[in-house]
């Protein structure tokens, strides 16, 4: 039996329940969709406004109802400007989740933001370049990972940060994340890649009494952060999955696009999405499912891609993408295994758990708490349903830093009040914010799962 046998016909790929509507690609050459018909579903209840974390702390932000259905309805196909307030939306997607009526809010925000950046933002402005650098984290991380130690020192070097704030508008308040000395992919290649994973998966199948050639294959979308920074999360994913008999492949991939959507850099996002979709689509055709360990990455692949782009295979990829723990909860009896396990040592702790907004939008906000509630040796406490406030690159912007911290305040308070002194979340940027606001160390649920289920995980290279 699995923990999450679907009880209803609710489809997690279509989180909203309203009537489906097909946006029409108005100008096939660009990414412009005519989303005016999406406003048909809005009956102005304002549930979206009351759940928007930015509107709550920023009186100048008009809120998702204006930003989405109202602005789109007032739009003309041509010659209508997008209000600049769209740049204050953090793309947390809480409005999407709140709407009872299926209004494609985040699609509207993302599309409008894309249009705003494309047509109204000066391409020579500092803001544009700062946003571009921030949203192309993968490029920066790639360069930094070539010289991780040097990067770790210089990126957080006081005068350098002061200069970045003054010239680029990147807040000096935050510390840049540390870069791993070996990236996940380097580790993966060294370990023997897909062949080695198949060998191990088969061994585990045999141990579990399964068919040696069982059809258990997943394509891992590790994303940038697990690759360059928290490689232990990626390694944990691989080991846990292999233990359940899954062969893992780590196909060619680029950034999921999440930071680019949030900054309206749709052309950049599309370039990356094309690579991701084409490599994932081939694998999905062969029977693989796509698994992400970052909830924003899975969100991008399953919701934002099909909403924003028209790429061959995009729907199939979206329909076969899952978050890493969600997938195991569906296909394995994860809960029973965890109930029988116990942890000791480094991770035998009380965790203050924060559910990322993007997890919430996929209906996953309770999975970690439900899963680890019975784990012997560790405890987990949900710190509530507020937004962490960082929303990826948002909280890195000098002008958004205050807003970001004001939103995060509730979470910081709740973390302080919780028993645990270690934080836990699925989202790497939420983790940064949690650490920044409380000074706690932050772990990923996969790490705890690995500790609970995999014997001597660190005995391998």
């Amino acid at each position: 039996m699995s923990d999450t046998e679907p009880q209803t016909d609710f489809d997690p790929i279509e989180p909203n329940t309203g009537r489906e509507f097909e946006p029409v690609d108005v100008f096939p050459a660009t990414e412009e969709f005519d989303l005016r018909p999406g406003a048909d579903s809005c009956f102005k209840c304002s549930a979206c406004d009351t759940s928007c974390p930015v509107a709550e702390v920023d009186d100048d932000f008009p809120g998702p109802k204006f930003q989405g259905p109202e602005q789109w309805r007032l739009k003309r196909r041509e010659g209508h400007e997008i209000d600049d307030s769209v740049m204050s939306c953090s793309n947390c997607m809480r409005c999407d989740d709140a709407c009872p009526s299926g209004v494609p809010l985040s699609q509207m925000h993302n599309t409008a933001r894309g249009e705003y950046v494309e047509e109204q933002m000066s391409k020579t402005s500092v803001e544009y370049w700062r946003n571009r650098v921030l949203s192309n984290y993968r490029t920066s991380a790639f360069l930094a990972s070539k010289v991780p130690r040097l990067a770790n020192v210089t990126m957080n070097f006081g005068p350098a940060r002061w200069l970045m704030e003054k010239t680029m508008g990147v807040t000096a308040e935050r510390e840049f994340p540390a870069f791993a000395s070996t990236t996940f992919r380097e580790w993966w290649a060294e370990r023997g890649g897909a062949d080695e994973s198949r060998r191990r998966a088969r061994a585990h199948r045999e141990r579990r009494g399964l068919d040696r050639d069982a059809d258990k294959r997943v394509a891992y979308f590790h994303g940038c952060y697990s690759n360059y920074n928290t490689t232990e999360v990626g390694k944990a994913m691989v080991r846990v999955y292999e233990r359940y008999g899954y062969e893992v492949v780590a196909p060619e991939q680029k950034c999921s696009g999440t930071p680019m959507f949030a900054n309206g850099m749709l052309a950049d996002a599309r370039r990356h999405a094309e690579v991701n979709v084409s490599s994932m689509a081939d694998l999905v055709e062969q029977g693989y499912d796509a698994i992400a360990s970052c909830t924003s990455c899975s969100m991008a692949l399953r919701q934002e891609y099909p909403e924003l782009f028209d790429i061959d295979g995009i729907e199939t990829v979206a329909a076969n993408t899952f978050e890493s723990i969600e997938y195991l909860r569906i296909h394995e009896d994860l809960k029973a295994d965890v109930r029988e396990a116990r942890v000791s040592g480094d991770l035998a702790r009380e965790f203050a758990y924060h559910a990322p907004c993007h997890a919430r939008n996929q209906g996953l906000e309770r999975q970690s708490v439900e899963l680890f509630g019975d784990l012997e040796g560790a405890g987990i406490e949900d710190v509530g349903d507020s937004c962490s406030g960082i929303s990826g690159t948002y909280g890195w912007k000098e002008e958004k830093y205050e807003t970001s911290m004001a939103i995060g305040e509730e979470m910081f308070d709740h973390m302080a009040a919780a028993d645990g002194e270690v934080g836990m979340t699925e989202c790497p940027t939420c983790a940064m914010q949690m650490e920044h606001g409380t000074g706690y160390e932050i772990r990923h649920p996969l790490e705890l799962l690995e500790e609970a289920l995999v014997e001597n995980p660190r005995s391998e290279p």
Binding site: R19, F21, V24, D25, V26, D34, R36, P37, A39, D40, S41, C42, F43, K44, C45, P62, K65, F66, E70, Q71, R73, L74, K75, R76, R77, E78, H80, E81, I82, D83, D84, S85, S101
Partner: protein, 576 residues
């Protein structure tokens, strides 16, 4: 001559307002009386198409020529009422090729610029068009806002000294020795702007000449004067979609038929229409099947209409006229041309002419012709200038350029406000007072509402047609009470309540024909809000004014740090 002749014009539709403007610009003394608001009649219940003439290019070429001529004029003098969307006559596979060619020839013969575009080109212009549309003829159709246009005509007439009386019904036509000498008028709330609760009364308006421009009601006025006017009212239904599925006017290219046109109108698209003769221009059945038929048939052109949200439906009656000897049986065969009936020639009754038939698009031309006629009665040789002098609001459109920064409004709201206000935008929106958005669906701010109240008194339906407030997808669910609140200061509480009731009633009326799908959810929510939070299902305060002094001033009102009374923004927040 000493003082100029005094002309009484009956009817505040496009025709009457156009005549009032023309005559007053020529220096005549004009009084216009209208039983409801401006546009209360057919003008407020029409499709909003600024005809290129294409629709008449096969069947009625005289009308087609008039249309293209006036189409060009209105683009110049009424820029803030007109949106040049362009139009298409689309041909589906089952539509007749011969008729398509005939339409094209007809347009060219009548001087209507017309080009054939392929199906693919048509879909590039309008992506929601059906995939099997074969080809189309593009013509310079446009969209026109009848409310704004009539209000602007009336404003111009007032500038030239005319008196405009709304909510004033003509009860009798006064006749002495076979000559019309004036009107007996009943004012709902006294002379001048309408103010709820103000006492009404009767007035005799003496006039040197009377123009009957009451459209479908012309026969009634005729009866009062003892003359026969055979107007044949014909009803048509129109359904308003929540959003614009098309930005171009989409006509079906086939001989006359029902449900063959979609007009983008402001934030919406309007589907139309039907043509069915009725007995009475006020009492006729409004039936659901008419709406269903229209959505179904027009989905053949724009398939997404099938499931799209409609926000309301309404019916209008055409004031069709044909000389009795013609005797058409089908109303679609009756000409769309207009007729000037001089009752002196026709019925030996001096001092009155009726103008019947015609179209909204040609209102100005009709006004010019009848004004010429009236002037000739008095031997006045004054030229018509209504074709050259722009209407108030359309004088100078450069203001559109810098709308946003100047008025501190958010992009789409500033843009829409300026589109509505035209050259008056600066005068209306440039305020140092707080200017919140009152109607969020249509993006109407307090400044524009206040301007409309100044122009039309406490009548919120008149405010509505001037601003579009409450005409968006929530149909007033979230803004009617705010609009009523805007009457505060100038008007007392019971006036505001009566005005609020009037607006709510009008808003519910048209929604009755859209109660399924999303608009049903909307209506359910509106009802719950209005009933439970505003007590509109049963209002114990109706009748007697509320004794506000019986309420205390709230927390902190006496002593404390809070301010007494109520600040509109809820006052300062704790710790702010």
């Amino acid at each position: 001559m000493g003082s100029p002749p005094h002309i009484a014009v009956i009817g505040g539709g496009s025709t009457g307002a156009g005549i009032a403007r023309d005559l007053s610009m020529r220096g005549l003394d004009v009084t216009l009386v209208e039983q409801g608001n401006l546009t209360h009649g057919t003008t407020g219940r029409m499709h909003g198409l600024l005809h290129s003439g294409g629709r008449y290019a096969v069947s009625d070429r005289a009308s087609a020529r008039e249309c293209i001529e006036e189409n060009r004029v209105l683009r110049e003098i009424a820029t803030h009422c007109v949106e040049m969307t362009g139009g298409l006559f689309v041909k589906r596979p089952e539509d007749d090729e011969e008729y398509f060619q005939e339409k094209l020839r007809g347009c060219r013969t009548c001087g209507i610029p017309a080009e054939v575009v392929s199906g693919a080109e048509a879909r590039a212009m309008e992506p929601h068009l059906a995939k099997d549309v074969e080809k189309a003829i593009s013509v310079p159709d446009g969209a026109v806002d009848p409310f704004r246009l009539v209000v602007a005509n009336a404003a111009s007439a007032i500038e030239h000294g005319a008196r405009i009386e709304t909510h004033s019904t003509v009860r009798d036509v006064l006749i002495e020795e076979d000559e019309v000498i004036g009107l007996e008028v009943e004012h709902a709330s006294g002379a001048g702007e309408r103010v709820h609760g103000k006492e009404g009364g009767r007035e005799e308006i003496r006039a040197d000449y009377v123009v009957n421009a009451t459209g479908a009601w012309a026969g009634r006025i005729g009866e009062m004067a003892g003359v026969d006017i055979e107007v044949r009212p014909s009803k048509g239904v129109m359904t308003i979609m929540n959003v614009r599925q098309v930005d171009t006017v989409i006509n079906r290219c086939r001989p006359k038929g029902d449900a063959d046109i979609v007009v983008p109108h402001e934030t919406t698209a309007i589907l139309g229409t039907t043509d069915e003769e009725v007995e009475d221009p006020e009492e006729y059945p409004e039936e659901r099947w008419e709406v269903d038929m229209m959505i179904e048939t027009l989905s053949e052109l724009v398939p997404m209409l099938e499931d799209a949200r409609t926000i309301r439906s309404f019916w209008g009656v055409r004031p069709l006229y044909e000389p009795p000897e013609v005797g058409s049986t089908d109303p679609t065969d009756i000409t769309r041309d207009y007729f000037l009936l001089d009752h002196a020639e026709r019925d030996d009754l001096e001092g009155m002419t009726s103008i019947v038939g015609g179209k909204f698009t040609t209102y100005r031309m009709m006004g010019e012709e009848i004004s010429d006629h009236v002037c000739s009665q008095f031997g006045i040789d004054a030229e018509c200038h209504t074709a050259e002098i722009p209407l108030p609001g359309s004088e100078d459109f450069t203001v559109l350029r810098d709308y946003m920064d100047e008025f501190g409004l958010r992009s789409p709201i500033g843009r829409r406000s300026v589109e509505r206000l035209g050259s008056r935008a600066d005068e209306v929106l440039n305020t140092s007072d707080p200017n919140p958005t009152v109607c969020t669906c249509e993006g109407v701010t307090r400044a524009e509402i206040q301007d409309a109240i100044a122009g039309s008194g406490s009548d919120l339906n008149a405010v509505r047609i001037r601003t579009r407030a409450s005409m968006g997808n929530c149909q007033g669910g979230f803004c009617c009470h705010r609009l009523a609140g805007e009457l505060h200061g100038e008007y007392d509480e019971s006036t505001a309540r009566a005005a609020w009731d009037g607006l709510l009633e009008e808003r519910w009326k048209g929604q009755r024909h859209a109660l399924w799908g999303e608009q049903l959810s909307q209506a359910a929510l509106n009802y719950a809000l209005q009933a439970t939070t505003q007590n509109r299902d049963r209002d114990p305060a109706d009748g007697d004014p509320v004794d506000f002094s019986a309420f205390d001033g709230g927390v902190g009102a006496d002593g404390g740090s809070g301010t007494a009374g109520v600040a509109t923004d809820g006052g300062p927040r704790d710790g702010d």
